[in-house]
């Protein structure tokens, strides 16, 4: 994500009129459990036929030696079925380390990876979390692209995900 920020910045300066973007906030709740592991989280955009339009983020255990963390990627079972199983890990600019409890902000700009150029249409952004010896939760937010005006959408998880906000800018 950090690497993408300069791009976003450049675009707002150089071509503000065309820089449709989306800001996503994903909350990982603090859980009081005996054995806590940070969740694996995947974020992607689905077309109406459930095909994947963009793979936005995959947080998994990248520190384990010999890529052993990839063993549990399948636990994000919807992501795995829709796109994960076709990927070679790590995915440049998409995958990264697991994150602690808290609010995590992601920003994606039209025409730039990993969002790319999204054809106008109706989509769902999907956030899926799977936690070792814990639960599994998926939240979806439907949206139209490009947004005609600044739009705020949200969903609220009940177990492995907290508040999810999606802010679209035309």
């Amino acid at each position: 994500m950090r690497r993408l920020l300069p791009f976003a910045f450049c675009l707002t300066v150089a071509a503000p009129a065309f820089a449709a973007d989306m800001k996503l906030t994903v909350e990982i709740p603090e859980l009081k459990v005996a054995e806590y592991h940070r969740p694996y989280v995947a974020v992607w955009i689905e077309r109406e036929d459930h095909t994947v339009a963009a793979n936005l983020a995959v947080w998994y255990d990248v520190r384990k030696k010999d890529g052993e963390g990839t063993k549990w990627l399948k636990d994000m079972r919807q992501w795995w079925r829709r796109t994960g199983r076709d990927q070679t890990m790590p995915i440049d600019g998409v995958s990264g380390a697991t994150r602690p409890a808290g609010q995590h902000q992601l920003r994606f700009t039209d025409g730039k990876p990993p969002l790319g150029t999204l054809a106008p249409g109706h989509y769902e952004i999907v956030v899926e979390a799977a936690r070792e010896v814990g639960g599994h939760e998926t939240q979806r937010i439907a949206f139209d692209w490009p947004a005609k005006a600044s739009t705020h959408l949200s969903a609220k998880g009940s177990a492995e995900l907290g508040q999810i906000n999606l802010d679209l800018n035309p």
């Binding site: 010999d66 890529g67 052993e68 963390g69 990839t70 063993k71 549990w72 990627l73 399948k74 079972r77 919807q78 795995w80 079925r81 994960g84 199983r85 076709d86």
Partner: protein, 271 residues
């Protein structure tokens, strides 16, 4: 002595698993995972004949009939094979991307006869039939049998390289990938006998956790003219899918009838 006993018992178990008493014992394999990720993935598999699905309570499966096909079509070996009292187990490394087919392939003849007024049975290879039956056996009835018990494991995206039919006995050809099944979604497969579509064959599917229900809750359907059938999975779970048929296409001249059986363990994941 022990060997003979095991053979006889397996024969009985197999006979029970076949059409005559399909409601009794069920033969199966259950892998620890059907969908795996990571380059160093392994699965461990239980194989048994039991009453309840999938709790070994009757007889272990014979692992000498194990045939494992990797996504590239090559035959691979299981590791750490063990035959216990009630179940057999083995481990399998699944390094290749694609779908692995794990099968217990049984082929042979089953004979019933009378000796001094007592009913006896014999099971073995067709070539051993003459030597296996006593000279004064009466009312000899010989059946050929071909059964296949399978399960599937996929690393990465499903593939079909390992799923090409052998053309022998009853087999399943997936239209829907066998490791891409989700509750509420319809899955379609094709049933073949000797490589040709098997029409009008009854196929049953039972959600595995029978121990925790009072009824089998069996779903059934019949193959169409192309041998195709579909199930829409009502819930996630490990499903036991079974079909059987009889025909007269025997390759052993003493056998009048052939019994065919096919069983798959298919995992259905939640939405």
């Amino acid at each position: 002595m022990k060997h003979a006993f095991v053979r006889a018992a397996l024969g009985a178990a197999l006979a029970l698993a076949l059409p005559m008493a399909a409601q009794a014992h069920k033969m199966w394999m259950v892998p620890s995972a059907t969908v795996v990720s990571g380059d160093d993935a392994w699965v461990t598999v239980d194989a048994a004949v039991s009453n309840d699905l999938y709790y070994p309570d009757h007889f272990p499966a014979q692992l000498d009939q194990l045939v494992i096909t990797a996504p590239d079509g090559s035959t691979v070996q299981a590791e750490n094979e063990n035959k216990g009292k009630y179940r057999s187990t083995f481990d399998l490394a699944v390094p290749q991307k694609g779908t692995y087919r794990i099968a217990l392939v049984n082929q042979g003849v089953f004979a019933t006869y009378e000796l001094d007024g007592q009913k006896k049975r014999w099971r073995g290879n067709a070539t051993d039939l003459k030597a296996g039956l006593p000279a004064n056996a009466k009312n000899v009835e010989v059946n050929e049998m071909a059964s296949r018990v399978e399960t599937f494991v996929t690393q990465g995206s499903p593939s079909t390289g390992a799923l090409k039919p052998t053309g022998k006995g009853m087999e399943l050809v997936p239209v829907t990938a066998p490791n891409d099944l989700v509750s509420g979604e319809k899955a379609t497969f094709q049933l073949l006998v000797d490589g040709k579509p098997a029409a009008d064959v009854k196929v049953v599917a039972i959600d595995g956790a029978t121990r925790y229900r009072n009824a089998q809750d069996e779903m059934d359907t019949t193959t169409d003219k192309d041998g195709k059938f579909s199930f829409t999975w009502p819930a996630a779970g490990m499903y036991w899918v079974n079909a059987s048929a009889d025909d007269k296409k025997t390759s052993t001249k003493e056998a009048k009838q052939r019994r065919l059986g096919y069983t798959a363990t298919l995992e259905v994941l939640p939405q």
